[in-house]
């Protein structure tokens, strides 16, 4: 191997890696440093407090609730948005104008700013003037307060989240479906395999890279949810939609508890890193790469 051959990969990755180092890795390290200090953002000294921030965080019932909310939200988002996308993809993966058109329509929310989406859905979920209660009225479901009710606020955010991502997930899966070579099905048909068996033995394994991709992307995206919370619920009512990123942001920039917020940030980074790692380890073997 020549010198150039050995250096070449590094040269190729260096532009991206430089950006990542400067704007992601350095901030995380800085965060790590700040997490051991007490700082209000503007005092000249950052007092070293050791692991006090972490201890306080782990003792705080509010933080426990925030973690519980975040995990619950992520679980619901991932399972519902992928769980619905799979049948939708199987259903819409056909020729014909109406199917294509529907694909186009359900994808549309993905291109709209979350600011707009949050504003519209706040209005739709308005307990008094909202369309949602009006529509529910036809189906005979009693009106709900949606975002304002501690029991339904989190699920309301999930509804908005699923509404936004279902189309994207579906299109990714349709792309996956279409990359499955037709002859495999034809061969299976020769063997008189049942539809269910086809799905289980061919479609699902062949779709696994796409599903895996969606799983990773959705988990991360759900864990980072911020905009909808910030605009629609501000973490309320009574902290029922307070999730980790909002919690960090509020502590840092509303309460100016930079050290405390940084400690939560470090825990978030560790958790996200761990989760990605586990995903890769667990699924890498099962995933069918072509």
């Amino acid at each position: 191997m020549s010198f150039w051959d050995r250096v070449k990969p590094y040269v190729m990755v260096s532009p991206s890696i430089t950006v990542f180092l400067l704007f992601f890795i350095y901030p995380i390290m800085y965060l790590f440093f700040l997490s051991f200090t007490s700082w209000n953002l503007i005092s000249l000294t950052k007092t070293f407090v050791g692991i006090e921030n972490y201890v306080e965080l782990l003792k705080s019932p509010q933080f426990h609730l925030v973690i519980k909310n975040t995990v619950l939200y992520t679980f619901l988002m991932v399972s519902i948005s992928i769980g619905l996308a799979l049948p939708t993809a199987l259903w819409l993966n056909k020729r014909g104008f109406l199917h294509k058109f529907t694909q186009g329509v359900i994808f549309t929310p993905h291109i709209i700013s979350l600011v707009s989406i949050s504003l519209v859905w706040m209005w739709i979920m308005d307990p008094d003037y909202g369309l949602l209660n009006w529509v529910m009225g036809f189906v005979g479901i009693p009106p709900s307060k949606w975002l304002a009710n501690p029991k339904t606020a989190l699920i309301s955010l999930v509804v908005v989240g699923v509404w936004k991502t279902l189309g994207y997930n579906t299109l990714v899966l349709i792309a996956g479906l279409q990359s499955i070579p037709k002859d495999i099905y034809e061969a299976a048909e020769l063997d008189n395999a049942s539809k269910w068996r086809n799905f289980y033995k061919i479609t699902l394994p062949m779709l696994s890279p796409s599903l895996f991709f969606l799983l990773v992307i959705s988990t991360i995206a759900s864990f980072k949810v911020f905009d909808t919370i910030n605009i629609m619920t501000q973490g309320g009512p009574i902290d029922t939609t307070n999730m980790i990123v909002f919690f960090i942001y509020q502590n840092a920039f509303d309460f100016f508890k930079i050290g405390y917020a940084s400690a939560a940030g470090v825990l978030l980074v560790i958790f996200l890193g761990l989760m990605t790692f586990i995903h890769f380890k667990l699924l890498a073997n099962r995933v069918h790469y072509r």
Partner: protein, 300 residues
């Protein structure tokens, strides 16, 4: 090839036989299923389409019409002045220009950085590969709300705070893009590359003539996603800009809401339309492109 033809022939025969047997029952069943399917599709379209119609409708209503319940879909008089009021509430032309400039700059930079990176990750073995790929994944998952403070302080120490740099440079590389493109590159069968190597094709040639055409759909898709997400980006430009001349459309729209006065939903929705209309137009024209991209992403 021969085997495949034989398979298909026997399939055709079998299907024909089946069709003759239960054609009548099937016909009725199929019609019913078709009707059910179409109504299902229409419900889907309604669920995903009506908030947009509602947004358009609200943006054209007069203030008093907004609060009628049950809602009125078509306003008595189309209030186009809502759009004018929204547009004149700030330097919207500047916002618009900034949004376009920033989104496009980021897109170009991301392409320039992610193609070689993804290629290297997909096709080469090197010592630090695992570590560097882990860094890429980390970049993909770290929320902006965590990184912005250090980046802000850093930018200010470089005296770049009042330029476009804080809005563009942190996004000059995309962890998502690298990840996505690497997956694609990895799916290119080794035989194709080996064959090209045997033909004495240079690495460059392999990358540009074989890999890139295969990755084209993914690149188009990524381009759209990148542009769209930058266009819609709210948090980062809000915290990074302290002057009007650098701000983007989403911030202009969010500013239409006043905390202490009564929110003019008509104006806010008109602003919303100004924000999303370019996206809808692009989507309208590029939708075929996206779907085509997905359709041809399989390897023949």
């Amino acid at each position: 090839m021969e085997a495949r033809e034989r398979v298909q022939q026997s399939l055709r025969i079998r299907k024909k036989e089946g069709r003759i047997e239960n054609s009548k029952n099937l016909e009725i069943l199929k019609k019913g299923a078709k009707g059910l399917e179409i109504s299902g599709l229409i419900i889907l379209i309604l669920i995903f389409g009506f908030p947009f119609l509602w947004m358009i409708s609200t943006s054209l209503k007069s203030f008093s019409e907004i609060m009628i319940f049950p809602p009125k879909w078509i306003p008595d008089k189309l209030m186009f002045e809502n759009y004018i009021r929204a547009w004149n509430s700030g330097p919207f032309l500047r916002y618009f220009f900034n949004s376009v400039l920033i989104s496009i700059s980021i897109l170009i930079l991301q392409f320039a950085t992610m193609i070689p990176t993804a290629y290297a990750f997909a096709r080469y073995e090197f010592k630090l590969k695992k570590l560097l790929f882990a860094i890429t994944l980390l970049a993909l998952m770290i929320p902006e709300q965590i990184t912005f403070l250090p980046v802000y302080l850093q930018m200010s120490s470089w005296n770049l705070l009042r330029t476009y740099a804080p809005l563009i440079l942190p996004f000059a590389a995309s962890g998502f893009g690298v990840f996505l493109l690497r997956q694609t590159f990895m799916q290119v069968p080794d035989e194709i590359i080996e064959a090209a190597r045997l033909d004495n094709a240079s690495e460059w040639k392999i990358m540009w003539k074989i890999m890139m055409p295969m990755a084209r759909p993914v690149l188009i898709t990524f381009a759209l996603f990148s542009f769209i997400s930058q266009w819609n980006s709210y948090f980062w430009p809000l915290v990074m800009t302290n002057t009007q001349s650098l701000r983007t459309l989403p911030i202009g729209v969010a500013m239409l809401k006043d905390a202490e006065a009564l929110t003019r939903w008509d104006t806010v929705m008109a602003g919303n339309m100004i924000l999303i209309a370019p996206m809808l137009v692009i989507y309208f024209f590029a939708q075929k492109q996206i779907i085509k991209a997905f359709v041809y992403s399989g390897i023949k």
